[in-house]
Subunit: 334 residues, 4 copies
C-alpha cells in the first residue's frame, strides 16, 4: 500500500507513528510512503485514510514494491572500486568448488589477467545427493579470500543456511543465495544481519515475479543491494541441463531497478555452449556474467562438464568486451 | 557403493572400522553394507576391494540408496494407534493457517467425527510475498496441539528453518517440510535431531529422483520415517494453481518403500477439484490424503479458494472410504 | 458474440439473414443466437445492435462457445448400442499398430470377453522419425473393421491428414485426431465432411482452453460429437514418457459438456503404471479409458513398453468396473 | 543404418538394387550410403551384411541422419542473390497477416530501405479460435509477391495444409511450416513436391531432436533446403507469451548443418523485448532473424502487441548489423 502524504507532513515523524501502530514504512518519494511490513488481509485501507497525515491511499500495481521500477530507477553497486549495474560489465569467474590453494591462486590470476572483476568458489555445496562432495567449509573460504586479495578481486560464495551467514560474510564480499534456496524465506529474512550485497539466483521453476518477491524479502529487511541472477529453468528439453532463459534479462530490466547477472554454465550444463550464451546474455543487456572456470576443468571435483578452462576463458573475455563495447555505442534501452 | 562382505565377517566391527577411515556405512542385508557418507570423486572402488573383509564392490543402480526398494520393501509408520503406509487410509485435514482456538477446535471435531486421523495447521507460513500474513508462531502450535489432543488426532505442522525444528517437534507429532524447502539440504540434515516422522513435500520442479534424494538426506541422517507428499508441479497449464501429478503415486511405489500422501488442495488450487482428485489419488494407490479444510473456507486467512468446508469434507470422507474399501477387495499391486 | 433476440423474432429467418451478411450463427437457446463464423477485429457490436431483430449483444465469457457448458449441459454419444458420456464406462482397447489379421482377431476377442466396448488400432502411424514403421494403411483398416464386426465392437482409428478422412470414415466408427494434429486447423475444419464422432487428443503442450478451441473448430463445422482425450503433457519429469494430467478430467467437466476419455498408456509410457492410472482416471470422473493392449506386448511393432497383455487387461477391466460401480453409488458431481 | 560399401562398388547401381528391395538410400560419402526409407523393426542388419556390395553395417548415433553434422558440414541456401547460412545475416520482416496492398508496399519499402533480405506475411492464418480472422488467402499471396518483387526481396508465407503447397509455392520463394504443424508428418512428406526452401518452426513442446526429425522428414523426401526456426517454447512463465529458447542456437549448430533463424516476436510476445532478444540471437550465432513488423503496429489485425513499427525496425537493423559485424571480427565457432 502506498500512502500519499498531505503537504507539510513530517515523513519521519509519521513513519515513527506507523511503527508504533505495528507497521514498517519506507519513503518512496518526497510525498509518498510505502508500507512494507505489518499488512495482512485484516488491515483495510480505511485504517490509513482516517489518519490526519494521509491525503490518499494508493493501490500497488505490483506485488513487489521496493524492487520495482516505481520505487527506483537504477541500483548501482560499488565494491572494491568496481561497479555492478553501472557502466562496466561485471564478470564473475571461478570454480564450482574450492578445492585447494593452488587451484584458487591459478583461478585468481586467470580472472585478473583477463580483466574479470570477481572470483567465485563454493565452500558449502548444495548437492542433490547426500553422498556427493559437500565442500571445504571455512578452510575453503579462507583460501578464496587470500587468492582474491592479491589481485583486489571481489569475492563471492554461497550461503546455504542462516547459520552460515556470519561466517561467509566474514570472508567474502558478496553472498550468493542458490537457486534451491530462493524460496527459503527464513534465510532471506536473516540476510538483514549483514551489509554485503546479495547475489540471488532464480529458482528452478520461479517466475520473474517470484524472483522479485524473493528480492523484496531481502530489501524490505534492510539490505538494498540485491543482484538478480538468471541460471536456467526446468523445461521438457533434456539436451541441456537447464534452459537458460535470456528473456529474463529484458523482462526484468522493465520490472526492476536491480542489476541482472547471467550464469551460462548452470544455464546450459555444456562447456561448448557457455561462450555463445554468454555473448547472447551481454547482447540482451545483462549487467554481468558468472561462469564456472577452472585451470583444468576435466579434473574439477564438481560440474566439470560445464566448466571452461584457460583458453576458452581468455576467448570469452575478448568476445564479451567487444560485444559490450559495441552495445555501448548504440543505446540499448528500447 | 555396496560392499559385499566375505563369509563370517563381523558387520558391526567392520562398520566401526570404516568409520575410523572416514566413512559411514549402514547394513543393507545380512551380507552387504551400503556406504552412505564420505564418498567423493576421489574415493575409488579399489580402496575397498583391497580390504580383507570385502568380497566384492557393487555399483549402485540408483543414486538414492536407503530410500530405494532395494533397501527395504515397505515402511509402515505407527503413531497414536494409527498407521501410515499400512492397512488404512491416513487422512490429514485442517486449515492452511492456524487462526484461532475456536477455528482449530471446530476443525479437530470435523476431522474426528468424519474419521480422519490427523489434524494439520500452519503456524509458520512460507509466503511468496513478505507483506502477507506470516502465521501465529508458537501460540498457534499450542492451539493445534490442544485441539488435537482432545480427539487423539495426530498433529502435523510445517518447519521452515532448522531453528524451528525443536519448537515444532515439541508440539506436533509429524514435521512437514514444504515444497519450497525440499532442496534446503541444511534443513534436511538437521532433521536428524528429532525422532518425529517427516512429511516431505515434492518441490515445484523436482523430479521423482530429486524427491527421493531429499528423502535420502533425512534417512541417512538417522531419521527413517519419511512420508513423501505429491502436491503438484509447475507446468504451462494456468487453469489450475499447480498440476497435481498422480503419476507420482505408482511411479514412487515402484521406486521406494516410503509411504505416499497426496495433497489435492495445493495440487489444484480449486475447491471444486479437491474431491475428484482425492478420489483419484486413492484409486492410484496413495497411502494418504492431505486436504485444506476450514469451518468457513471463504473467511480463511489464506488459501480459501482451495479449502473445503464441512459439507464437502463429509462427502469426501465417505467417498474415499468407499473407494479405499473397493480397492482393498482387489489386489492393487500390479 | 451472443445475440439476444426481441420477442416474436423468427430465429431461422434471422439466421438466414445473417448468413447473407457473411456470418454463420447457431441457436443457443429459445431467444439467443451465437455468431460462430465471420467475426474478425473489424466487426463491431454496433453492427448487430442496429438490427431490428436484436434486443441486446452479449459478450462471451469464454473464447469457446459451442463446446462450453453455457451452450449445453451434457453430450451423450450413442453408437452400436453403446453410449459415451452416459451411464456406462466406455473402454477402448487395442494395439498401437494394426499388424495382422490374427493379432486383431485376438484383440477383438480379448476386448469383447472382458466387456470393453471399442477396438482401436492404428493404420496410419504418426512417427517422430521418418525411418520408423508407418502403418499398414487401408489393408489395416479392413482388418480392424472385420475383427470388430464379429463382436459388434465400436471401431476407432487415427486420421493424420484431410486426404485420409473419407477412407478412415469408410471403415471405422470413430475418427481419432492425434495429439500432434490437435492444432492442425485445416484438418479440424475438414472433419465437417463426415458424421462420425471424433476422438480429439490433447496436444503435448495444449492448455484446456486450447483443447476446447480445437473442439470448437470441429463443432462449429457441423460435427457436434466430439470426445476429448487426455493423453499426457510434456513436463520436466523424464521418468514417465509424458505426464498424464488427470486434473484435466474435473477441470474439463466444469468447462464443457463433451465426454472425456483418458489414455494412461501414452500418458505414462510404462506398462506397470497403466492400471493404477486407469483406476485413478475413473475415480476422477472420466467417461472412458483408452488403453494399448496386445496379445503379446513384447512383440508389438510399436509402443510395446506401454502396452498391456491379456492378464493385465482382464485385471484392469475387473478393477475399473468395481470402481465405476462404487462411484455410481455416490453422486460424483460436486 | 549406414552401409559401408566394398571398394569399386558402383554406388548408384547399388542404390537402384536397394530400391527394388523396398528401401530408399542416399549417398553420405564416397563409400557410404544411408538407408532413409523402408526400415522398420523387422528389418535386421543381417539382411544387409549378407549383400556382396556391403563391407559393414554401421549403427547410427543419432536418430536423424540427413540433418546431422555427420552427413554434412554446412548448408548454405542461395536465393535471389542472397544467402541463408552463409556470410550475411538474413533478416525476414513483415506483418503477421497480409491486410492490404498499401500495407505490404509500405512493409516492403521499410524492409528494403533498412537492408532486410526478405518479406513475410501470412495469407492463411492458423488461429487457435475458429472465430478469429483467418487470412486473405490467394489474394494476399499476390499482394505479397508484387510488393516484394519491386525490391527483389525474398518472400515467405505459411502453408497450413498439403492442399495449399502448390498455391503458396507459386507466389513465394520460401514456404513456412508453422509451430502447430511441425508434427504434421503428412504435410512434411508432401513438401517433396516442391523445390522451394522450407522454413520449419519448432513446435511448442518439441525437443531439439523432435525438430531435427521433422527436418529429416523433409530432407529424406528430397528437399534438402530446410531452415530451422526457434520461436519460443511453452514453460510455466506467463510474463512472456512463450519462452524464447536461445540455447537452441548453439545446441543446433553442434547437431546439424542446417541454418537457424530466430523469431523474437512470437518468442516473447512483447514489442519491448523484440530488440534485445534479436540482438542476443545474433550474438548466440543465429543465421537470421524473423520479426513481425508493420507500418502501424497498433492497428495490425493480428499480433499487434509483439509487432514493431518503423522506428524500432530501423533501430533494430542498425543494432543487428553492428553486432553481426562485431561477431565476424572474432571467430564465433567454439
Amino acid at each position: 500500500m502506498i500512502l500519499e502524504l498531505k503537504p507539510h507532513v513530517d515523513a519521519f515523524a509519521f513513519i515513527a507513528r506507523l511503527e508504533r501502530m505495528g507497521f514498517q514504512a519506507v519513503r518512496q518519494s518526497e510525498s509518498t510512503l510505502s508500507i512494507v511490513r505489518g499488512m495482512d488481509k485484516k488491515v483495510l485501507p480505511e485504517l490509513f485514510t482516517s489518519l490526519p497525515e494521509v491525503a490518499a491511499v494508493l493501490p500497488l500495481k505490483e506485488k513487489f514494491k521496493l524492487a520495482s521500477k516505481a520505487a527506483k530507477q537504477k541500483t548501482v553497486i560499488q565494491i572494491k572500486g568496481k561497479t555492478i549495474g553501472g557502466e562496466e560489465l561485471f564478470v564473475i569467474a571461478g570454480p564450482c568448488s574450492i578445492e585447494s590453494k593452488e587451484q584458487m591462486e591459478l583461478c585468481a590470476r586467470m580472472a585478473f589477467e583477463n580483466g574479470a572483476q570477481s572470483l567465485r568458489g563454493g565452500a558449502f555445496k548444495p548437492r542433490t545427493s547426500p553422498y556427493e562432495f559437500q565442500g571445504m567449509g571455512e578452510e575453503g573460504l579462507k583460501i578464496l579470500h587470500d587468492a582474491a586479495a592479491h589481485y583486489n578481486l571481489v569475492t563471492i560464495s554461497e550461503v546455504m543456511d542462516a547459520s552460515q551467514i556470519d561466517l561467509v560474510a566474514k570472508y567474502t564480499d558478496i553472498l550468493q543465495i542458490g537457486a534451491r534456496n530462493m524460496h527459503n524465506f527464513t534465510l532471506l529474512k536473516e540476510l538483514e544481519r549483514v551489509k554485503n550485497p546479495i547475489l540471488l539466483k532464480r529458482g528452478f521453476a520461479a517466475t520473474y515475479q517470484d524472483l522479485l518477491l524473493a528480492a523484496e524479502y531481502i530489501i524490505s529487511g534492510g539490505n538494498p543491494n540485491v543482484i538478480l541472477c538468471e541460471r536456467g529453468i526446468r523445461t521438457f528439453e533434456t539436451h541441456t541441463r537447464n534452459t537458460l532463459d535470456l528473456n529474463a534479462v529484458p523482462a526484468l530490466k522493465e520490472l526492476t531497478h536491480l542489476p541482472i547477472v547471467v550464469d551460462p554454465s548452470h544455464g546450459t550444463g555444456r562447456r561448448s555452449m557457455v561462450l555463445p550464451m554468454a555473448r547472447a546474455a551481454v547482447a540482451a543487456g545483462a549487467d554481468g556474467i558468472m561462469v564456472e572456470m577452472h585451470p583444468d576443468p576435466d579434473k574439477a571435483h564438481t560440474d566439470g562438464a560445464q566448466t571452461i578452462g584457460p583458453v576458452l576463458f581468455e576467448k570469452m573475455m575478448k568476445e564479451l568486451n567487444l560485444i559490450y563495447k559495441c552495445l555501448s555505442s548504440i543505446d540499448p534501452s528500447n
